[in-house]
Symmetry: C2
């Protein structure tokens, strides 16, 4: 797929739209007005129309959006019309929590490999039948299991070294949970997860109400 | 503090701005142009100016923003000119990972209490000296330690029950990591953390490049 240059914020909002469309699907809602969808997603209706307009014509004038169709189309735009294979590095509490977290599979993300640098963790069986491999073996395992995206859950101090190994193994997408910026070549994409960022929205609302 | 009605997306972006301003502070950068800051934050400069304009005049024409001052002012807007006390419910792998995660304290969030419903976990000492209490005791402990925000890290199936207990205990802000919507009275605020949402931006970029 090729589109005009799309603002990253638009892509971020498309993800949010899919989460609410999934919830609507679960509730059996078939059609939703752009006003109602916008309100669920905490944006204004013009924003949704503008975000979708980059990719084509969606929705029916005077009717709204067909929930399932819109969800299908947005997931296709986001590259989620296929399942993605994740390899995770850092099998402490966070790594172990993520690998067992129901949301990944629900969204089309499958953990296919797990790594650490601590020999006492190797060959440990994980809840979903995976084993923990030595990070030094990442290249071989990546090719064997078709790992596409690397997830880093090491302490901050190890994240860059792990990123280097992932890049060397040919990984082109990294999701970094370690609270540190990492540097990768231009042919590799990185996204960061910051657990605390939604807390700021809470503290803002709690402060304003006082 | 009272402000005009601010779009939630603006508040979300203010958080993102603070993360980059913190990084700039660490790097010793004192002044930054709005173009440079916008580029770091993946928004356009007009967006930053518009977001800040809700709250007053920031930045100096022809100069840019003083990094430390802007960081201080935005953190004040977000209610982060004080430390916030968090209580966490659900001490499995995810809860244990979060309570030891360096990023919370860095952002001004302090875990002051931990709860579970599994008696084998009670009185277990956590890395930072906290103990795990029975969720039934949440009201008493909340008052004792001054817990302000509840963090839910239980499985999805327990999240609503835990939210009810937190609300009954007088908690007015909840950060929910369980992958399920929860229902609370209007005087309680909820935010959700979805680990997978940043993955969608990765898969988009990897798909477009193909």
């Amino acid at each position: 797929m090729k589109f005009a240059k799309i603002p990253p914020a638009t892509i971020g909002r498309l993800s949010v739209y899919t989460r609410h469309l999934q919830e609507l699907t679960r509730q059996g809602v078939e059609i939703i007005s752009s006003e109602k969808l916008a309100s669920l997603c905490s944006v204004n209706p013009a924003q949704i129309r503008k975000d979708l307009a980059y990719f084509g014509e969606f929705g029916v004038r005077g009717v709204g959006y067909y929930v399932k169709d819109l969800l299908f189309e947005i997931r296709k735009i986001l590259g989620l019309n296929k399942e993605w294979n994740l390899g995770i590095v850092g099998m402490g509490n966070l790594g172990t929590a993520l690998i067992g977290h129901e949301n990944f599979l629900k969204q089309g993300y499958r953990f296919v490999a797990a790594f650490d640098n601590d020999p006492t963790k190797f060959a440990r069986a994980l809840p979903n039948g995976l084993k923990v491999f030595d990070i030094k073996e990442v290249k071989r395992i990546k090719d064997e299991v078709g790992m596409e995206i690397g997830v880093i859950t090491t302490p901050a101090s190890r994240a860059q070294e792990v990123a280097n190994r992932l890049v060397e193994a040919g990984i082109r997408g990294i999701l970094n949970f370690a609270p540190v910026r990492i540097h990768v070549p231009a042919n590799c994409e990185v996204e960061y997860v910051d657990f605390t960022i939604r807390l700021d929205s809470l503290t803002y609302r709690l402060s304003v109400e006082d």
